[in-house]
């Protein structure tokens, strides 16, 4: 097992290194010039100022040398400074990463905590009313795009029921309760679509497992249908569900772009968007890299979870 974890960690690190190269290259391939953006109207009238500023920021050097400088900084934990306000990128990222993780974690929690029971119910009571109701909820969940479900959630929970704030962010240290209540709606918005996917997958996989011989053996041992399901069918049914969660969890990161805008949540995505508009290279690189890192972290955790659930993963087999 430790060898399995080691090899997964190594491949995660390698992915991160490759990601940093891609991040750097793609950002510099984008059209647009940060200096022009920074100088605004002055840039059109004063080419001298543009040249001077380009030199000051080191943007006139060859890309390779710029990359090496950046990568060298990376190793020392220095991600450079924002071109706009001169603040260290790392400080900004460290402020934002936990918020984004919170959002993704909340979304995952919604997806798994609601999706799994829904799927189990849909499989157990297939053809009966509760099962069909669960299936309908699941389909409705993954049919609604984030911006639709998000707006509906705001309408219902904050405008009509007046239970939760419609948007905004308060630091946990300032007011923990308000912080969490601000988190509820964005998490639901981001997770509800995924919940539908998890429910459908769980249902299909569980129905499949229930027909397996080992579930029949469990019944022949004297377990009730319900216990045979929870003890024998469900753990095996979860293996493919977990890998789907792993593959799709990355999509939650994409969803955060809309959700952060919709709920005014100051996370990584909104930082990336504003940095991109300003062509603030260091900030863009930093936030993209952070997003990559989160993505890789999620897959790593899912791999490890799979190793825990399925003994055939991570051993040499027969």
């Amino acid at each position: 097992m430790s060898k399995f974890i080691g090899s997964r960690l190594a491949s995660a690190l390698l992915t991160l290194v490759l990601a940093s190269i891609v991040v750097f290259a793609s950002i510099h391939l984008l059209p647009g010039d940060p200096v022009v953006m920074l100088l605004g109207e002055q840039a059109g009238s004063d080419p001298e100022a543009v040249a001077r500023m380009t030199r000051e920021l080191g943007l006139d050097r060859p890309l390779i040398s710029q990359f090496l400088t950046w990568a060298g900084g990376l190793f020392q934990g220095d991600l450079g400074r924002s071109l706009r306000n001169g603040e260290p990128v790392l400080d900004e990222l460290l402020r934002r990463i936990p918020r984004s993780l919170e959002l993704i974690g909340g979304g995952l929690l919604v997806a798994v905590a609601l999706g799994l029971p829904l799927g189990v119910l849909a499989a157990r009571d297939r053809g009966k009313l509760p099962g069909m109701a669960a299936s309908v909820i699941a389909v409705a969940g993954f049919s609604a795009p984030v911006f639709v479900s998000g707006i509906l959630l705001v309408l219902i929970f904050s405008l009509w029921l007046n239970l939760l704030p419609s948007s905004g962010f308060v630091a946990f240290s300032e007011d923990p309760l308000l912080h969490l209540s601000c988190l509820v709606l964005p998490s639901l918005a981001i997770g509800i679509n995924f919940m539908g996917v998890v429910a459908r997958m769980t249902r299909a996989s569980l129905i499949d497992s229930m027909a397996k011989d080992y579930v029949r053996l469990a019944r022949a041992k004297g377990l009730s249908r319900g216990k045979a399901m929870t003890r024998h069918a469900l753990p095996n049914a979860l293996v493919p569900v977990i890998s789907i969660i792993g593959i799709r969890a990355g999509n939650l990161l994409g969803g955060t772009v809309i959700v952060e805008a919709l709920f005014d949540w100051p996370g990584l995505s909104s930082l990336l968007v504003s940095a991109s508009f300003a062509r603030d290279y260091p900030l863009m690189q930093g936030s993209l890299l952070a997003i990559f890192a989160i993505f890789i972290l999620i897959s790593l955790l899912i791999d490890l979870a799979q190793g825990l659930v399925d003994p055939r993963v991570g051993t040499n087999g027969g």
Partner: protein, 589 residues
């Protein structure tokens, strides 16, 4: 119905059992008015071919038929009406008083749980034994069923055990609570013959030790003769005959039982050249000349090549010299091989034209890999294979195309080798189409002819593979191989999955074709009884090596190697109460 008189001493008494499944085409009766009794400590074999309802009967008794299946009738067990019990009461019967063993030990054990826990579970469900005590009992049970190093094995997952060991674990689970009745559903069918003998011995030993009755569901009459006290013969869901094992074998009354016994391959019967296998529908023999002429016409349609070496009888058609095939199972990160398995480790063989060479071996003996190398579906690591005088490794272009036409393979699993989305008529016509042998219309006609030849109907050509049974699909696969009028057929366990009656039909067909067209067969099998009747020469393989090779009768009458002797001894014999019975077999090397 004979033997259906109410027996007060019966442990289990089944009366008028009916199991129906709702299908779109209306209800299908899988079990139709079945009645029988089992006395304490008795071994009753439920015998039948696929679709006879024998497995469904076992599940019905346990009330494990899921809706939309419906079970009716009366089952009394130790004086209690099982069908009147509540679900909770039934759960206390299952596992504790009636235990079950399933056919496929790979799929019947939960892949995600340690085998020790799976044994301990049944103890904990019924006795409330604390976790630690149950775990200790599980280890003791593993030791009892003959698993070495049981404490370590208890911590293993099912995929880390061999098929035989997994079935031993299943027996441990079944015997854990000393049930009064064990229902075993084809428990040894998936196992190699020597492992089968060991598992049967163990099952028998446990049954005798616990005094349990055993309801043994099987299609293998050899196994029946070895273990049964009484036999219940099922056909299309109905009991056609039941009685004492000696009576069933010596004086069967029903014509189906007689036909079944006649069709079962007997490893002790000497080979009679040209003898046809008995089938359930004996008339097939009468119009042999007629069907033979028809298929000869159909198969001859694409005009075989004149005087290829393949048609000179007796000359070596295929020569294999020092063939090796290694598989690298583990590599270092630079790609350097760390572990290598020698699937075939230096085999030399000759197959004469117009004859049948059988390759016998247990799983992992390399027989299928050898077959794949000969068909050039796999690349040998070293060694030479010549077909009709030419090294098949050198074939290219038209020569290779011709080789592909002349050499056909029939695989073991017809479901996996037929494309589920293609009509079988098209599948059969694919070969001639690929080789550009005939126009579409002629292909349709050929498909129809071949389907009739393998015992199906010409109008079946428009159906899809899932609409056929396993045996029918295997016959389709054979029709597809014949469509190219091959000279050499590699049959890789091609009849192993077939019921005896269908197997006989297919073997007769292959024999006819050999007579008519001088076909050469490489017959890969683990079924010794069939091989003795069908093959001219036999090669025994073990662990990738050739143990011995020779004339069929010589191998069966005077085997030289210990491995061959042990293998032959392990085959269940067709004689009830044979001296072998209940005598444990020496463990295989």
């Amino acid at each position: 119905m004979s033997g259906a008189v109410k027996d007060e001493a019966a442990l289990l008494s089944v009366r008028g059992l009916v199991t129906e499944f709702a299908t779109p085409a209306g209800p299908v009766r899988a079990v139709d008015d079945v009645s029988f009794d089992i006395r304490r400590g008795e071994v009753v074999c439920l015998v039948g071919e696929s679709g006879s309802g024998k497995s469904v009967t076992g599940l019905s008794l346990m009330r494990l038929i899921e809706p939309p299946g419906k079970v009716q009738g009366q089952v009394s067990f130790q004086g209690r009406d099982l069908f009147a019990l509540s679900e909770a009461e039934m759960n206390r019967v299952r596992g504790a008083q009636i235990a079950m063993i399933f056919q496929e030990p790979m799929t019947a054990l939960n892949p995600a749980r340690r085998v020790g826990d799976q044994i301990a579970e049944v103890l904990r469900i019924h006795t409330g034994l604390p976790r630690k005590a149950a775990a200790e009992r599980a280890v003791a049970l593993l030791e009892r069923v003959g698993i070495r190093n049981p404490a370590a094995r208890a911590r293993a997952y099912p995929h880390q055990l061999s098929g035989g060991m997994r079935q031993r674990v299943m027996i441990a689970i079944a015997c854990a609570l000393k049930p009064a009745l064990i229902i075993a559903d084809e428990p040894t069918t998936a196992l190699d013959v020597t492992v089968q003998a060991q598992v049967l011995d163990l099952l028998f030993e446990m049954q005798a030790e616990l005094g349990s009755a055993l309801l043994f569901v099987t299609h293998d009459l050899g196994v029946v003769a070895e273990i049964a006290d009484r036999v219940v013969v099922l056909y299309h869901g109905k009991v056609v005959e039941q009685g004492d094992v000696a009576q069933i074998f010596s004086a069967p009354e029903h014509s189906y039982t007689k036909a079944l016994l006649a069709a079962a391959p007997d490893v002790d019967a000497p080979r009679v050249a040209g003898r046809r296998f008995a089938t359930l529908a004996a008339p097939a023999q009468d119009d042999k000349a007629q069907t033979g002429a028809r298929v000869a016409a159909a198969v001859a349609a694409p005009a075989p090549q004149a005087a290829s070496a393949a048609t000179i009888p007796g000359a070596p058609l295929l020569e294999i010299s020092d063939l090796r095939r290694d598989f690298v199972t583990r590599r270092s990160w630079t790609g350097r091989p760390l572990e290598t398995v020698h699937a075939v480790g230096g085999v030399s063989l000759t197959v004469p034209a117009g004859k049948t060479l059988a390759i016998i071996g247990e799983s992992g003996s390399g027989k299928s890999t050898l077959g794949r190398c000969i068909a050039r579906l796999d690349q040998p690591t070293s060694g030479r294979i010549t077909y009709a005088g030419r090294d098949i490794g050198d074939l290219a272009g038209d020569d290779l195309l011709r080789f592909r036409r002349e050499v056909q393979t029939i695989f073991q699993d017809p479901y996996a080798s037929l494309n589920p989305r293609r009509r079988i008529g098209d599948a059969i016509g694919d070969g001639p189409a690929i080789h550009g042998l005939m126009p579409a219309e002629a292909r349709h006609a050929l498909a129809g002819e071949l389907l009739e030849r393998v015992g199906l109907k010409a109008e079946h050509a428009v159906r899809y593979p899932h609409q056929f049974s396993g045996g029918q699909r295997q016959r389709i696969a054979i029709a597809r191989a014949l469509a190219l009028s091959p000279h050499f057929i590699i049959a890789d366990e091609a009849v192993s999955a077939l019921d005896v009656s269908v197997r006989a039909q297919v073997l007769n067909l292959l024999a006819d074709l050999q007579d008519e067209r001088g076909l050469t067969y490489l017959f890969i099998s683990h079924d010794m009884g069939t091989v003795r009747q069908f093959a001219d020469r036999v090669a025994i393989m073990q662990g990738g090596r050739l143990v011995e090779e020779g004339e069929t009768e010589r191998i069966f009458e005077e085997p030289r190697e210990d491995y061959t002797k042990n293998l032959l001894r392990a085959v269940p014999r067709m004689t009830p109460y044979s001296p072998r019975r209940r005598r444990p077999l020496a463990p295989a090397a």
